[in-house]
Subunit: 210 residues, 4 copies
Amino acid sequence: MDQDASKGRPGRKRSEQSRAAVLQAALKLLREQGYAALSIEAIARDAGVGKQTIYRWWTSKASVVLEALVAQAPTPLAPPSHGSLGEVLEAFLASTFQALKTPRGTGDILRGLMAEAQLDAQFATEFRTGLIERRRELLRSVLAQAQARGELAADVDLFLLVDMAFGVMWYRLLVGHAPLDRALAHELASLLLRAGAPSAPRRPSRPTKA
Amino acid sequence: MDQDASKGRPGRKRSEQSRAAVLQAALKLLREQGYAALSIEAIARDAGVGKQTIYRWWTSKASVVLEALVAQAPTPLAPPSHGSLGEVLEAFLASTFQALKTPRGTGDILRGLMAEAQLDAQFATEFRTGLIERRRELLRSVLAQAQARGELAADVDLFLLVDMAFGVMWYRLLVGHAPLDRALAHELASLLLRAGAPSAPRRPSRPTKA
Amino acid sequence: MDQDASKGRPGRKRSEQSRAAVLQAALKLLREQGYAALSIEAIARDAGVGKQTIYRWWTSKASVVLEALVAQAPTPLAPPSHGSLGEVLEAFLASTFQALKTPRGTGDILRGLMAEAQLDAQFATEFRTGLIERRRELLRSVLAQAQARGELAADVDLFLLVDMAFGVMWYRLLVGHAPLDRALAHELASLLLRAGAPSAPRRPSRPTKA
Amino acid sequence: MDQDASKGRPGRKRSEQSRAAVLQAALKLLREQGYAALSIEAIARDAGVGKQTIYRWWTSKASVVLEALVAQAPTPLAPPSHGSLGEVLEAFLASTFQALKTPRGTGDILRGLMAEAQLDAQFATEFRTGLIERRRELLRSVLAQAQARGELAADVDLFLLVDMAFGVMWYRLLVGHAPLDRALAHELASLLLRAGAPSAPRRPSRPTKA
DNA sequence: ATCTAAACGAGACGGTACGTCAGGTCTTGGT
DNA sequence: ACCAAGACCTGACGTACCGTCTCGTTTAGAT
């Protein structure tokens, strides 16, 4: 999580084996019992590792989980870049939603991490910079390209469009009142498109009646 | 939280004084130390109340906080119903954001509750039905009226529009990467309006290319 | 260990069952593994008791052991009061030594407690007042009676005689260079007698040469 | 503490500097925080030495302390050999007691070592042979000379007399119920003398009345 | 006026996990 | 081979809360 420049330092090197065992144990326990039931003690026990070894390299159980999650995801995360914005956006959202869906899966883990970020300011930063911002940037760049191509109004706030997309996703993920499925991807993409569309050329969109 | 029919039952009545003391203690501790540091033990101690009394009437510390929060808010929450949808929506969002802003205030408490809802399925339900859904319904009815007036397309999914509004709010509240201020209220209202606007009559918005 | 006046105090009473289980577990573990290997954690585990319950009533593992030891000993400890001082003293010493001799027994426990008293000032006081001083007083009263009868010189320091008796006992117990057996009881009693004897009447003991 | 024959062995020689640093650090920490708070880690840290270096040459922290103590004391410990036994004995005891008295001093260290010897059988042997027995032999030889001169009865058990002298000393040192001062040296010497005195020549000491 | 039953404060109980400390072992790179 | 450094596994520490379980004490409706 931190130093890499272990160049000329004396002393034993960090054990890659222990690191892997910890991450693996964390994932296993997450799968078996869910985030809420996870404890550092249990991870250490299951990984056959001293608690101190965990405390030495991570700041909290959430940090462990975050690293495990990132390490696990192959996530080239290259967004599909051909096609119209509507197509690309829908595909992006659909694949993102897809990844959350396994029963004891990524979605539940992310919920746990987001919860932890509310209770632990230190971790909140790790979480934001290590995960949230990366995903945001990905989507933002997709939108920026579309904007450059004129598919989005030049003055539309891409930042806010990103918030709307991820906002809906997280809101449904956390509240659980509605599914995150392909239909949503379609409809959400369409609404975002309409929201960000350049105003109709030369014939300003007359709202409603008038 | 549960029974009201204390009609003919024998035995001592529930002490209104204890109930008030618990809620007040919870709010005080929230203000002083934040949600993460809160514990049932501390609430009981501070309220001068036995732990059992809390367990008798609430299912978790989150339930106590939720009730305290609801009891505290005067919540007329009558949405302003005159004016165009744009005006009403912006006003609604602005006042909602406003309520979250005090430093150790409502926003932080809500973050804590949302976190708890991720870790405790039982509470998740209480939270959704006791708070989330009420706010959603409020906004939905505003949008429904506008839709009836023709300010929103007849086929737009109001449910999803609500998700977009609250999604952005929660997302920013939980991640903290951007402010929840009046400017956001304005811009968000405007984007939602555009997203839900009835299609321009007779001249369909031609996307991109063309 | 502390309060007894639990008269009008509210709250649940101390569980006599837990207290007994702790003392018994302590003795069992002492027998099985010796004092050095004892831990509060192990006592709690073995007694089926929460650690907090031990910390609530005792200040250290040594306190537990001390109480277990005292509770275990039937300790009528009435010193035999008939017979000459020589006989009484020898009997007292012999029975005292006898009590220490079991293989994983009282002697080893006392060694552990004395060790602890060196490392923990708080316990040192408990140990002195709860055990050491009681035994000292017992022996001192025996000697005082003998002094009253004229079997010991009027000006001899009984306090110091007690130190000599117990000093030898503890010294051998702790260093282990020589046995604590009946022969020692006999010889030690005899030397103490000579040391404390009233000076020979009318013919003062001429030291050395002459 | 162990091997000395580093005759033809290959490899780097033992660092005298490290050895000295360890002993010095041990003494410093003893002075500053007392025996109970001492740890091998702290010694290594303070001495700027690897833990392994300590484990390589000593078996326990007690061993380090023992060596430090012995190395520190110049202690030719030549007992004064002129004068009557009474004088010599009193001087011996007085100077011994004197050495223990500094506030965070030798006495407290010896208490710690004796404690350790109770908890660690391996060290008990080191302690007995490396310190206890030497002191005993010193006193025994003094008494033996006196016995040869006829100042002590021929049949008195010198071994036991030594136990009585050191027994009182250790007992008071460990229990702390009474001081180890010059007055004690005087009185103890006198009692030991009486206990070991040759019986009055040709007219057996008639006890008391009779 | 008693009886009965629930709620109350207090606080002890068996537990789980926390984060820290030290023990003793094992690398690593440098001398 | 030894050394300083430091990571490693182990296991105990003492603490905080958890949710449950007595206690003896009100409080109130039903008798």
